[in-house]
C-alpha cells in the first residue's frame, strides 16, 4: 500500500500543497507533529516543575539566600534552615552506591551478554529486571531488618581491614551512610545490568569477528573491542542509575539514620535531601518551613544537573583520549 501510494501522486502536477499532502498521507508529517508534541510535553513538564519549585520556595530563598547551601542547622522550631548536611549525605551515599554498583553491574552485564549461554542469560536477565520492579520501601525494610544486622556482624572485619582510614572510624549503630550506600547499590544494579547488557549485545558481530581474526583471545575481544564500542551506552545506564540513587527516598531514609550532621565516617548516620523532604513535608506547618523543604527539591534538581554535567564532561574527555 505505502509503496504504491506515492506513484499515484507522482502522476499529478507537483506543488507544495500536494507534496505536503503526500507526506501527510505517508505518515511523515503526522509522525513529526506527534513526536514533537511528545518531546515538547516533556520539556514543558520539566519547566513547570522547576518553576513551581522556584516560585513556592520564594520565602525561604529570600530569607536565607545562598547561606541555605552552606549552613548546617536544621531547626524547625526556630525556623532556621541550612541544606549542607543533606547535600553531603546525598552525594556521599550516591557515590558509594556507584562505587559498589558499577563494577558489579557492568561485570554481570559482560557475563550475561558475552560469556553466558543464551538460555541462562535470558532467564537471569528476566530475574534481574524483576528486581527493578520491587518497590523501594521493600528494599528499605530488607535493609533495616536484614542488611543492617548483617553489617553490624561484619563491622569488626571491616574495621580490621579499613579501620585506619577516617572513613571507617567512630561508633557504628548499623543505620549509617554505609548502609544507605549498600542498599542503593543493590537498587541501581538492575538498571546498569539490564541496559548495559542490551548495549553490549547490540555491538555488531563483525567487531568481534575482526578482533578474533587478528588473534585476540575471547577476553581481549570483549575488553578491548566490545566494551569500548558499547561505552556510551554503558555510561548511559550509569547516569540512569545515578539519577535513581540521588532521588531515592524510602529505602534511604529507613537505613541512613536521619541525623542532619556532617560526619566524615561512613559508619556515622547522615541524611539525604529526598529523605528529609519525605519525612517532614506532610507535617510541615508554616510557609517558611514548607518553602525550605521545597527549596531542597530545587537544590536536588540543581545537584542532579551539576553531577550529570560533570560526569558527561568526564566521558567526553576519556572518549577523546581513547578515540581511535
Amino acid at each position: 500500500m505505502s509503496v504504491t501510494a506515492p506513484n499515484v501522486f507522482d502522476a499529478r502536477p507537483s506543488g507544495r500543497v500536494s507534496a505536503f499532502l503526500r507526506r501527510l498521507r505517508s505518515g511523515d508529517e503526522i509522525a513529526y507533529v506527534v513526536t514533537l508534541t511528545c518531546a515538547l510535553t516533556i520539556l514543558a513538564i520539566t519547566a513547570l516543575l522547576v518553576f513551581e519549585l522556584y516560585a513556592n520556595s520564594g520565602q525561604a530563598r529570600h530569607k536565607f539566600g545562598w547561606s541555605f547551601l552552606t549552613t548546617s542547622t536544621w531547626d524547625p522550631v526556630v525556623e532556621q534552615f541550612g541544606a549542607l548536611p543533606f547535600i553531603y549525605g546525598t552525594v556521599v551515599t550516591s557515590a558509594l552506591a556507584l562505587l559498589l554498583g558499577i563494577p558489579l553491574g557492568v561485570g554481570a552485564a559482560i557475563f550475561l551478554a558475552e560469556l553466558a549461554p543464551t538460555r541462562i542469560s535470558n532467564a537471569l536477565t528476566f530475574l534481574i529486571e524483576l528486581l527493578a520492579a520491587v518497590p523501594s520501601v521493600i528494599f528499605g525494610l530488607l535493609g533495616i531488618f536484614i542488611l543492617v544486622p548483617a553489617l553490624i556482624s561484619l563491622e569488626p572485619a571491616i574495621r580490621a581491614v579499613l579501620g585506619w582510614t577516617p572513613l571507617f572510624s567512630g561508633p557504628f549503630y548499623g543505620v549509617s551512610m554505609l548502609s544507605a550506600g549498600v542498599v542503593l547499590s543493590v537498587m541501581i544494579v538492575p538498571f546498569i545490568i539490564s541496559i548495559s547488557r542490551e548495549v553490549i549485545l547490540a555491538v555488531p558481530t563483525e567487531q568481534r569477528e575482526g578482533a578474533l581474526a587478528l588473534g585476540a583471545t575471547k577476553w581481549e575481544t570483549t575488553w578491548d573491542v566490545v566494551i569500548p564500542f558499547a561505552r556510551k551506552g554503558i555510561m548511559g545506564s550509569i547516569f540512569l542509575a545515578l539519577a535513581r540513587s540521588l532521588g531515592e527516598t524510602m529505602a534511604v531514609t529507613m537505613v541512613i539514620g536521619n541525623e542532619p550532621k556532617i560526619h566524615q565516617s561512613l559508619f556515622a548516620p547522615g541524611y539525604s535531601i529526598a529523605a528529609i523532604i519525605a519525612n517532614e513535608f506532610a507535617e510541615a506547618p508554616g510557609e517558611l518551613y514548607r518553602g525550605a523543604l521545597i527549596e531542597l527539591g530545587l537544590v536536588l534538581f540543581g545537584l542532579t544537573i551539576v553531577i550529570n554535567g560533570l560526569a558527561r564532561m568526564l566521558v567526553v574527555s576519556t572518549t577523546k583520549k581513547g578515540a581511535s
Partner: protein
Amino acid sequence: MTRRIFIVSAALAAALTMGVASAQQVLINAGGATFPYPMYSKWFDEYHKKFSNIAINYASIGSGGGIAQVTAGTVDFGASDGPMTDMQLKDFQDKRGSAILHFPTVLGAVVPTYNIPGVTGSLNFTAEALAGIFLGKITKWDDPELTKANPGIKLPSNNIVVVHRSDGSGTTYVWVDYLSKISKEWETKVGKATSVNWPVGLGGKGNEGVSGSVQQTANSVGYVELIYAVQNKMTYGKVKNVAGEFVQASLASVTAAAAGMKDMPEDFRVSITNAPGKGVYPISSFTWLLIPSKIADPAKKKAIKDFLTWMLADGQKMTEALSYAQLPKAVVAKEVKTIDKIQ
C-alpha cells in the same frame, strides 16, 4: 423466560433504589492525622453501614495536611494530633469567615521503649531521666538518675543510644511537649514541634523505623505510640507522674490523664501531658477533629452533627477493641453541648 423477567425486574429494582439513594446521598470529605486513622476508618465504616446514604471519606495525610486542607476548604473537616495554634485559627477565620471547633475523639499515649542486653523487665523512668537522656546529658545506663529509680535491676555501664522519629509526627509532638513541660532546658534549647532539632540520636522513619532501630541497637532507647507498642508486644517503661508514682501506660491510665484535667477549656485546645492526679500516665494526648463552625450545605451540616453525636455515644464503645483510650465522661458531656455551636 421467567428467569429473564426476574433478572430484568431485579436490575430495575436495583436501579430504582440506587436512584432514590443517590437523591439524598451525602458525601463528606475529611483528612488529617494518621495516628487515629484506624479508629476513624472503623467509625466511618460502621456509620456508613448504619446510614448507607452518608459516606465519609478520610485521607490520612498527616495533621499538618489536615489543618492546611481544612483552611483551604478542600475538605469538609480536618483532623489533627495537635490543636491548631491561635495564628492558624486566625488564618482560618480570615479565609473562611468562621471559626474552627476542636472535638477530642480518642486519646493516645507515647511510651519509652528500650533494648538493654540483660534487662527484660519494665524500667522506671523519672522525668529528669528522660529529659537528661534525650538532651544528651545522661549518657550511660548506670547513671544514678536511672539506678536510683530502678532498685534491684542491674543496669550496664554502656553508652545510651537515643532513637527518635525522623518524620514529622504527632507522636514526636506529644513526646517533646512533655519534655518541654518537665525540663526548662529542653523548652529553651529544643522546644516543641512535630519535628525538632534533636540534640542527640538517630532518626527512624515511623513507629516501625524507631522500633526496628531500637531492637537492633544494643543499649538504645526510643519512643513509640502506645498502640504500636501494645500490638507488637514490645516492652516499654513506666514513667513517673506528678503524684510521684511510676505508671505504666494503659487505656485506663491514659483516660485518667484526661479526667485529671479539672479546668478543661471551652475549645478543648489543651495539652494533657504531665497532667496531675493519681494513676495518671503523664505522656498522653487527645487527638481532635477540626470542624468548621459554619457549614453552608444543610445536608452536610446535619450529617456531620449526627455523626459527632453518634461518635460520642456508640462510637466511644468501639475504641478499646482497637487499643485507643476512650474519652472521660465529663469531656463527652461537654462536647455534646459544643455540637450545637455548629451552624
